[in-house]
């Protein structure tokens, strides 16, 4: 085995072995000890993996060799290493936060061992997915990933919402895998190989290649959660244990993005309609993802819809890259794919941060409805601060990391318009405005979330709020990453640029991405931070001199303000939600009595998912009624079935006979 001579590679293997070893520690009888030791071993394995990833070619100055191992079954090219880096980076804080989060299940006398086994399998199989070079190995890893996520998801399986939500996930995963089977069958049929590294097709020949592209877009699009395939996300994310939803939203849905990138590498260069398709799908996902999020009261469902938005932004980036690929423009390709890849990393970071934060809240309050929360900032200052960092980052506001990747996407629009002239500037401008609009909606959404959960006073009394060291470590780590990428993006941009240079481009490499004036960002953001700190010191000094005190808020002369009188999440977002009422299926129920005396009245608002409510459910109801119509065939006597089988076989036989 020559491969093992490479120290980085042997470390890689050791890392996997240690991660697997974590399962063994679950055999310890005491739940808490088992969970703790297993998590620690898993984290050590992940850190070793991260070290081996860092020592790989992607993070050094040498070219990525794209080597294959294990008789071609495993291949480490730029894209694989980049995604394995994301997986390991996000898995570490989610596992750490799991120590305290899962203990809360143990407090409820619920065993988490089976959950943790599936969680470990999920982590490992996800890493296998991105390094697989052999189709069957890929599909098996993919299926193990999907199913272990499902099995981990049903931890609280006696609850009805868990059964319902996990079924959505289960059904979506299965539809998806069938589409992938067909897609890879077609790929194999066209190339005669089972290895990814042999798949090179071009669009010029026939209908099969466009078909493969469309199938990959649907198959991987279901995983990624592009509208209209997003409907499983808001169902599955809320009911999963938060450790898992953080990993699902941060990493698993990115496997769809990985798949789309991988397919691109098979089929490049793609024609321009592919780019437009992704741009439009991405824009729709971005706008309506965030708009749906705005209408939600369930914190985890809201975050799930936000994943749809961010996947949309990634899709927009990929779309620009495709347009660049079609027109043979390296600079456009670099900016589009660069924005998409960096946003994949960024979204993995801040979305897992937000999910872990929501997990801390759920663990303490036992509710997910944000309308019943409030004032938590006075109980958990640091959790609020970390959550705020994640919120600012996800809204794409500088100086955090979300802004950097959105900025690259914007620059991609400018570059496309400049390079292609003609009618492109107008079209690209439309997308710029769309993206700005999405940014505005995200600001509305995350100011709502933050203020309703953390600010003001408690709408429902909180008895006790406990946050452990594990929460601080994982949230702090992720927040630091958000700030780091925001303030100093050069190294990350360099890595992304390297991934793209290794195999994405069909022309010369372009320095469009690294040539953005990144040092300006570092300079401006640091001066912003320094300015704020200096001003704060000045403010403190002035307050010392002229005094500062607290007093009741202005209530227009009314003294007895209660927490219930605060602006709620639905009132905050009402005006915005009323605009696309039909698409959001946004309903308000107001109970007002005509009595001249004050009597109790009520208000309720909710939004249903258009795709789920108007397409998926009616479709399955229709199928069910169809099935009911042939229900008479379903008999209790086995002899009927044997007769049916015989009839079918004879029909087939007859056809085969006539055919020959």
């Amino acid at each position: 085995m020559n491969d093992l001579a490479d120290p980085g590679y042997s470390l890689f293997i050791v890392a996997f072995a240690i991660q697997l070893l974590a399962i063994v520690f679950l055999s310890i009888r005491n739940e808490r000890t088992a969970l703790f030791s297993s998590s620690i071993v898993l984290v050590i394995g992940l850190i070793l993996g991260l070290i081996s990833t860092f020592s790989s070619a992607l993070f050094s100055s040498v070219e990525i060799p794209g080597r294959t191992f294990f008789s071609n079954w495993i291949r480490l090219d730029g894209l694989s290493i980049y995604f394995i880096f994301i997986i390991q980076l996000v898995a570490i804080p989610t596992t750490v936060s799991g120590i305290s989060y899962l203990n809360h299940y143990i407090d409820q006398k619920r065993s988490v061992k089976s959950f943790f086994i599936f969680y470990i399998i999920l982590l490992i199989s996800t890493q296998f997915v991105v390094i697989a070079n052999q189709t069957i190995f890929f599909l098996v890893s993919w299926e193990v990933m999907s199913m272990s996520a499902y099995l981990a998801m049903i931890l609280e399986r006696e609850k009805e919402e868990v059964q319902r939500g996990s079924f959505y996930y289960f059904a979506a995963s299965h539809v998806l895998i069938f589409i992938l089977y067909i897609m890879f069958f077609l790929l194999h049929h066209q190339t005669g190989s089972w290895y990814f590294s042999d798949y090179h097709l071009s669009f010029s020949s026939g209908i099969v290649v466009p078909l493969i592209f469309i199938l990959s877009l649907i198959g991987f699009g279901i995983k990624a959660g592009f509208i209209p395939f997003h409907f499983w996300l808001p169902q599955a994310h809320p009911i999963a244990p938060t450790v898992l939803s953080a990993f699902l939203s941060g990493v698993i849905i990115k496997m769809g993005i990985y798949g789309i990138f991988r397919t691109f590498l098979f089929l490049k260069p793609v024609p321009e309609w592919c780019g437009w398709l992704l741009l439009i799908v991405g824009m729709i996902s971005a706008i309506f993802g965030v708009w749906y999020a705005l209408a939600q009261h369930d914190i985890k469902r809201l975050l799930a819809y936000h994943s749809v938005e961010n996947i949309g932004i990634i899709g927009i980036g990929i779309g620009i890259g495709f347009i660049g690929s079609a027109n043979n423009l390296s600079s456009v390709q670099v900016l589009g794919f660069g924005g998409a890849l960096l946003h994949t990393l960024n979204h993995a970071i801040f979305k897992s941060l937000l999910f872990i934060g929501s997990g801390v809240i759920y663990r303490n309050l036992g509710i997910r409805n944000i309308e019943l929360m409030g004032g938590l900032i006075h109980r958990a200052k640091y959790i609020a601060l970390f959550f705020l960092a994640g919120s600012v980052a996800i809204s794409g506001i500088p100086p955090f990391n979300g802004f950097i990747s959105e900025f690259i996407v914007y620059t991609g629009f400018f570059k496309t318009a400049n390079e292609l002239k003609n009618y492109y500037p107008i079209l690209m401008l439309m997308f710029v405005v769309g993206l700005a609009f999405v940014g505005g909606l995200a600001v509305g959404c995350f100011t709502k979330v933050n203020s309703v959960i953390f600010l003001g006073s408690e709408r429902r009394e909180v008895k006790r709020f406990h946050s452990s060291i594990y929460d601080y470590v994982s949230l702090g780590f992720l927040s630091l990453l958000c700030i780091l990428i925001g303030f100093y993006p050069q190294p990350f941009v360099g890595v992304v640029n390297k991934v793209i240079s290794s195999g994405f481009l069909n022309g010369n490499s372009s320095s469009a991405l690294i040539n953005i004036d990144w040092h300006y960002f570092t300079l401006i953001f640091s001066s912003l931070a320094i300015g704020i700190i200096l001003l704060y010191l000045l403010k403190l000094k002035l307050e010392k001199k002229y005094g500062r005190r607290t007093s009741a808020a202005w209530g227009c002369g009314y003294e007895n303000l209660t927490p219930r009188m605060q602006y709620s999440a639905s009132s905050f977002a009402d005006e915005l939600n009323t605009i696309p009422k039909t698409i959001l299926v946004y309903q308000k129920e107001v109970e007002i009595s005509d009595s001249p005396y004050p009597v109790s009245s009520g208000f309720e608002s909710h939004s249903k998912d258009f795709v789920d409510y108007k397409i998926v459910l009616p479709l399955f109801n229709f199928l069910r009624s169809l099935a009911a119509r042939i229900g008479f065939l379903s008999q209790t006597d086995i002899r009927y079935y044997i007769a049916f089988i015989l009839i079918i076989i004879s029909i087939y036989g007859l056809i085969a006979f006539l055919w020959v």
Partner: protein
């Protein structure tokens, strides 16, 4: 490098120093047009100095968010102001793509202002915050349909270069620029909470947007908010005035002259608009903003098909 940097520093100091004066002039114009004597032009300075020396009172339910939000507001306004050209001087922050940073830095200020308003936990501030979030959303496309479209047409994406690229040698482009400047004016009115979107002078909670958000602030906090809102008004005034730079034959002295006359003329326009219009009902404000967006789109389409 040295001279440009110095000019950039001077520009930003000029913006910071003159911003309250601009607001004072608008108020004076408005007072004269409505037949009052009005407060002195320097009144905003007096008010700022007065606030500076006042005791700070925080609402009991508030947290560190309302303590840091005023600072973030002012600093991000100054950073945004540092991207705008005064006269023909290159601003201190000017790089490819700064138009995006400009829009998003203003977004940073808004994000924290909304949070600080919600921090009080009173429905008045909540009302203001919700309105700010809603109207800002509709204001965003206007900015990109005006300044953004000039940028896409000229191929530059730095604010300084964008304004530099405007040349009046083609009738359809001239019309395009004029209509753009009208859209920017409508945007400025919204963003700076002037009539007919918001009334900076009333103090009835139910009718306000910006004023209600800072209702529970006092002392140094209010000073920071007021000062940053003056700077914001001046920033949008500069966005508008910069449309007139093409007339200046690209010389510095004429550029500065245009800056001065432009500012004064704009105070007249704002004063007149605020005198002859009344504030719209809250329900109609999105329509007003969508109208400005529609103008932007139509303008762009007309230009594209007539050039």
């Amino acid at each position: 490098m040295g001279l440009t940097f110095l000019q950039g520093i001077i520009s930003i100091i000029v913006i910071m120093a003159l911003a309250p004066l601009f607001a004072g002039m608008v108020n004076k114009q408005k007072a004269i047009l409505t037949g009052r004597i009005g407060a002195p032009v320097l009144q905003p300075y007096y008010e700022l100095i007065r606030l500076f020396k006042k005791e700070t009172i925080n609402a009991g339910t508030s947290s560190f968010i309302s303590r840091i939000s005023p600072l973030i507001n002012l600093v991000s306004m100054i950073v945004a102001a540092a991207m705008l050209p005064v006269g023909f001087w290159k601003p201190i922050i000017s790089f490819n793509g700064d138009i995006i940073l400009f829009a998003y830095i203003l977004g940073l200020a808004r994000f924290f202002q909304i949070l600080a308003a919600m921090d009080i936990g009173s429905s008045f501030e909540g009302m203001g915050a919700a309105r700010e979030a809603t109207f800002a959303l509709f204001a965003e496309p206007i900015f990109f349909f005006t300044i953004g479209s000039i940028s896409f047409i000229s191929g530059y994406n730095s604010l300084f270069d964008i304004y530099h690229s405007i040349q009046l040698n083609n009738v359809s482009y001239e019309v395009f620029i004029i209509v753009c400047s009208i859209s920017v004016f409508m945007l400025a009115v919204t963003e700076c909470s002037r009539m007919p979107v918001d009334d900076p002078n009333t103090h009835l909670e139910l009718t306000m947007i910006h004023e209600v958000m800072i209702l529970d602030n006092s002392g140094i906090d209010l000073f920071l908010y007021q000062y940053s809102s003056y700077i914001k008004l001046f920033i949008y005034a500069l966005l508008e005035i910069s449309f007139f730079y093409p007339f200046s034959q690209k010389s510095n002295s004429v550029g500065i002259l245009i800056f001065i006359t432009g500012s004064v003329a704009l105070t007249f326009v704002l004063g007149i608009v605020e005198t002859i219009t009344s504030r719209y009902r809250m329900k109609n404000i999105p329509q007003y903003l969508l109208f400005a967006t529609a103008i932007g789109i139509l303008n762009l389409l007309i230009y594209t098909f007539t050039k």
